[in-house]
């Protein structure tokens, strides 16, 4: 039996004016377990807290009920006070007789009656409280970044600069990501490579950063502070330590028909390749699908020409297992597949390209060496049409319901750059809305219209029809003039929607990080915790969380880094003790609870139990209290009642219900 003390606060006149506080204290003494009750002017004051401490000592109290303001206000205060007096802080419960009683009721008798009932419910609960201890778990002081684009690089640099070790896992042969494919960046028009490359170099040179390129995350286990990750280092067929990056192998490679991923397939590359000149590491990989040696067993030219002897056809995939305290997802995006948008003739004409392809066309290292030309015949275009929102803001299932956010700005950039470099080219942009929130963004767009004479037409394009003369007939509408437009163009550029990298679904499953219907990773709170996943220890950087441009990505990357640093800076994690626990003897191992846990906190183990003399191995739910946030979803999903929540147990809530209804 508990020895409970009930402390009724007057809160000046806030409570005492409508609730007969001494009556509440008097009634409390009638309740089972209550051995002490008193009322006081301000329980939260130092004198009030001292009263609680004194009573704990004098009356040997094992539980406390404070009838006062909302627990959201002073629960922590009273718990600390109890703890200082040697009582477990979780033996304190609050009866909210201010916000839920005195402030909303005018009739003293009625309010007092209600206050008594609220006090009874709290007493009934405390009777069933048990001391709870926050758990502790260790923190591995190393972070893993999945994805080596600008988001991943920036997060890695920020974490590493704070003094923690960081590993980056990048799927492709080089870090750099989408940003490395861009030509210029809005709204300042500086060269993408010029600002990205130094960051790539800095990351690769940083003593705290280790980069695994051409590698993928294979398996993740563990939990916040203590993840164990298997990384598959795919066979590069080139010895990273020996290779000097001279590039001779690539020149001599006889197989040059593989489409260049970096140039979006607009030209070809050799079978042994580095994706681009500034690649980091500057070590090529052999594309075994394209390599003659791997396909036929003959050739081996690269091996012969390599003076460093770095070519290793026998190399195998390698699994590296490493521990991490925090994981940052920075898996980025791709453009959507345009198969469902046949009306734009993307598959029919080489002169219909996506904006990302235009980036490559405009880039000096691209397939046309930076000359704006038609990919079909190499002729310089005279009329260019840009179509906005291809697959974005789409109401049917062909595209995406969301705004891809970056297209308005990069199209303005493209239009401006073309008009600047090729003043004789007419540029027309079909748009639904032009969205330019952002520092210097609208100014930038207006410059494109006003200074560079880009022709913006509000309206959608219904069809692009390739003409026999090689031109493209664009059928659109001008909503402002309310007329149909037929326009012959030499090139059409599609502002294609972006979507999260398709691999992210697999990664999210491994991390038990939740993901939304569009495959964007879900943040822990849309407003207040935008860079954390609901799964503790998992952070979100860049477009994997939602569409964003480079400055936003970098800002979020920094934010994710700070959150990760905040975690890594701790030696131990204190866990909330109000977590779910499964009664081994009642658990069926049915997996129902696991299915509703948003944090992946429940796993199953085959364990031997002794059930009243019956010894057997059973599949049992095990809650990782470091991951559990205490929502209680599992407790209701569990049919046998094995799963219960500490601090809000079935019996405690039922006791409150009973006390209120009696």
């Amino acid at each position: 039996m508990q020895r409970i003390g009930v402390f009724v606060c007057h809160c000046g006149s806030n409570i005492a004016a409508t609730v007969d506080v001494s009556k509440v204290a008097e009634m409390a003494l009638m309740e089972p377990g209550v051995v002490h009750a008193e009322d006081y002017q301000y329980m939260c004051s130092e004198a009030g807290q001292a009263k609680i401490a004194d009573a704990i000592h004098e009356k040997k109290l094992t539980g406390i009920v404070v009838c006062s303001c909302s627990p959201r206000m002073h629960e922590a205060t009273f718990r600390k006070a109890a703890e200082r007096a040697g009582l477990n802080p979780y033996m304190v419960e609050i009866a909210n007789i201010r916000e839920h009683c005195s402030w909303i009721h005018k009739d003293m008798e009625e309010a007092t009656k209600k206050a008594v009932i609220l006090m009874r419910a709290a007493v009934a609960k405390v009777n069933l409280n048990t001391p709870l201890q926050p758990g502790e778990s260790r923190v591995t002081k190393r972070a893993l970044i999945i994805g080596g684009g600008i988001a991943g690089i920036q997060t890695a640099l920020d974490i590493a600069d704070a003094g923690y070790e960081v590993d980056i896992v990048e799927k492709t042969p080089s870090i750099g990501g989408r940003m490395s494919q861009l030509d210029k960046t809005f709204p300042t028009l500086d060269c993408s490579a010029c600002i990205l490359t130094p960051k790539m170099v800095e990351a690769s040179a940083h003593e705290k950063i280790k980069i695994y390129t051409y590698s993928e995350v294979e398996n993740v286990s563990g939990f916040v502070g203590d993840f164990t990750v298997d990384i598959r280092k795919k066979a590069r067929s080139v010895d990273m330590d020996k290779c000097t990056g001279c590039g001779v192998c690539q020149e001599k490679c006889p197989s040059k028909k593989a489409p260049s991923e970096f140039n979006r397939g607009l030209n070809n590359r050799s079978a042994i390749y580095t994706p681009f000149a500034q690649a980091i590491p500057n070590v090529p990989v052999i594309d075994r699908e394209a390599c003659i040696k791997f396909k036929t067993g003959k050739c081996g030219i690269c091996s012969k020409v390599c003076q460093a002897g770095a070519i290793d056809y026998e190399q195998k995939d390698e699994i590296i297992t490493e521990k991490y305290g925090a994981i940052v997802v920075a898996t980025g995006f791709d453009t959507i597949n345009l198969d469902k948008y046949d009306e734009y003739a993307y598959s029919q004409s080489k002169d219909v390209i996506t904006s990302l392809e235009l980036e490559r066309v405009m880039n000096a290292a691209g397939p046309t060496h930076g000359h704006l030309e038609r990919l079909s015949d190499g002729k310089a275009p005279k009329e260019m049409v840009f179509i906005q929102c291809v697959g974005s803001r789409c109401s049917d299932d062909r595209g995406k319901p969301y705004c891809s956010k970056i297209c308005c700005m990069y199209t303005a950039k493209h239009a401006m750059l073309i008009r600047d470099k090729y003043p004789d080219v007419n540029v027309t942009v079909f748009y639904i809305d032009v969205r330019t929130p952002g520092k210097n963004f609208d100014e930038f767009y207006r410059r494109a219209v006003e200074q560079y004479g880009v022709n913006y037409i509000k309206g959608q394009v219904g069809k692009v029809i390739p003409q026999p003369n090689g031109k493209l007939l664009v059928q659109g509408s001008d909503l402002l003039d309310n007329r149909q437009i037929l326009k012959e163009a030499d090139m059409v550029v599609l502002a294609t929607a972006i979507e999260p990298n398709p691999d992210v679904r697999k990664i999210a499953t491994m991390l038990t990080a939740s993901i939304d219907t569009n495959n964007f990773l879900t943040e822990a709170h849309a407003k207040l915790r935008p860079v954390e996943s609901p799964t503790a220890g998992i952070f979100l950087s860049g477009v994997c969380q939602g569409p964003k441009d480079i400055p936003e990505t970098v800002a979020q990357a920094g934010a994710a880094a700070v959150k990760a640093i905040g975690l890594l800076a701790k030696d131990k994690l204190m866990t909330n003790p109000c977590t779910a626990h499964s009664d081994e003897l009642l658990c069926n191992g049915c997996s129902t609870c696991e299915n509703v846990c948003p944090y992946g906190a429940i796993t199953y183990e085959d364990k031997e139990v002794n059930d009243h003399g019956i010894r057997e191995v059973r599949r049992l739910a095990v809650v990782n209290s470091a991951l559990c946030q205490g929502c209680g979803a599992c407790t209701v999903a569990c049919p046998s009642g094995a799963m219960d929540l500490q601090g809000f147990s079935n019996r405690q809530i039922i006791a409150e219900v009973d006390a209120i209804c009696r």
Binding site: L29, M30, H612, G613, I614, D658, A659, C661, R662
Partner: protein, 343 residues
């Protein structure tokens, strides 16, 4: 010997119910169970077996014992009152009546169960002979004569009449009360009915079941038999057999917290349940085999050992009809017999 035309039975029931409670077989939502008579009740005297035995007229499935009420910091104990009003149970069968004899041996022996004793004292039983016994019946095995129930009043339904014969003082008293509705009759028709019933019973498959080897001395021999390991397997561990049984007498005592008071009540328990006879240290019988064995050992061995050889089964056959897994005491007896034969 009296008789009353069936069409006047409702008048009889009304007359009885005027002065005391009357329980009889009533059909509710398709099933016949003993319930208090009312004008609206669909009385079903033709039904051979009520789903539940009528034992809960004397030993209810749950009954209050006492209530503890809190008054400030003090407690007040309010014991439940014993039955003090007379009542009539109409339409029990010979086996059910015999079932009460089994309960009497338990509850009326020292220490006397006052709740049960009060009900027994105030209850008058009008028992009905079984007009058409069925294939699940085996009362004869336990010395019960379905044709001639031994109660306060024995009754027979023959043709359009119900024949009535008081056998005890209580029976006489009840007869006196309802005399105005009864008319004199001779025993010829009843004797013929008895013969007919006994004739039918002879033909029923279970009626000549042998209980050889089952007695109070068979304890270790039966207890240790390997056969139980096989027999219990289909058992679902539900309490159907127990709760329809006229002789099962085990109960549990539980508390119910109403918020303002705690009511202590008892309710039937079943040895088939895993928490049966649960004690602080745990449970005596940890496996379903043990629980299954308990039920039959109790009926056929332990009870006879303590009650001069009387079995605590009366062959009503309710378990035969109601077991969800088609297990029952007859199958158990036969299995041992068969095994004995093969040995």
């Amino acid at each position: 010997m009296y008789k009353i035309a069936k069409e006047n039975l409702s008048a009889l029931f009304r007359l009885i119910a005027d002065s005391q409670e009357l329980y009889l077989p009533v059909k509710t939502a398709g099933q016949v169970n003993f319930a208090a008579w009312s004008e609206e009740a669909e009385v079903a005297l033709d039904t051979l077996k009520s789903v539940k035995s009528p034992k809960d007229a004397f030993f209810p499935q749950s009954e209050g014992l006492y209530t503890v009420r809190r008054e400030g910091k003090k407690m007040k104990v309010e014991p439940e009152e014993l039955k003090s009003q007379d009542f009539v149970v109409f339409g029990m069968k010979a086996c059910d009546v015999k079932g009460l004899e089994v309960l009497d041996n338990v509850f009326l022996a020292d220490p006397i169960d006052t709740f049960y004793a009060a009900r027994r004292e105030h209850g008058t039983i009008v028992a009905l002979a079984c007009h058409e016994p069925e294939e699940s019946c085996f009362c004869k095995v336990f010395g019960v004569d379905a044709a001639d129930p031994a109660a306060d009043v024995a009754a027979w339904m023959i043709g359009e009449d119900l024949y009535w014969k008081a056998l005890t003082e209580k029976g006489e008293a009840l007869t006196k009360k309802v005399k105005e509705l009864l008319s004199d009759a001779d025993e010829t028709a009843v004797e013929a009915e008895k013969e007919a019933i006994r004739g039918i019973a002879e033909k029923l498959p279970y009626m000549n079941l042998s209980l050889d080897g089952w007695n109070g001395d068979a304890l270790s021999e039966k207890f240790d038999d390997k056969l139980w390991e096989e027999l219990y397997k289909p058992c679902l561990a539900c309490g159907t057999c127990t709760f329809v049984c006229p002789t099962c007498q085990c109960y549990d005592i539980k508390d119910y917290n109403t918020g303002n008071s705690v009511s202590r009540y008892r309710c039937w328990d079943s040895c088939m349940y895993s928490d049966f006879t649960m004690m602080a240290h745990g449970n005596n019988r940890t496996s379903q085999m043990q629980r299954f064995r308990q039920r039959f050992m109790h009926k056929l061995v332990y009870y006879p050992a303590n009650n001069d050889g009387m079995y605590s089964c009366v062959g009503c056959g309710r378990c035969v009809e109601k077991c969800p897994a088609s297990l029952n005491i007859v199958k158990v007896i036969k299995a041992f017999q068969k095994q004995g034969g093969e040995r």
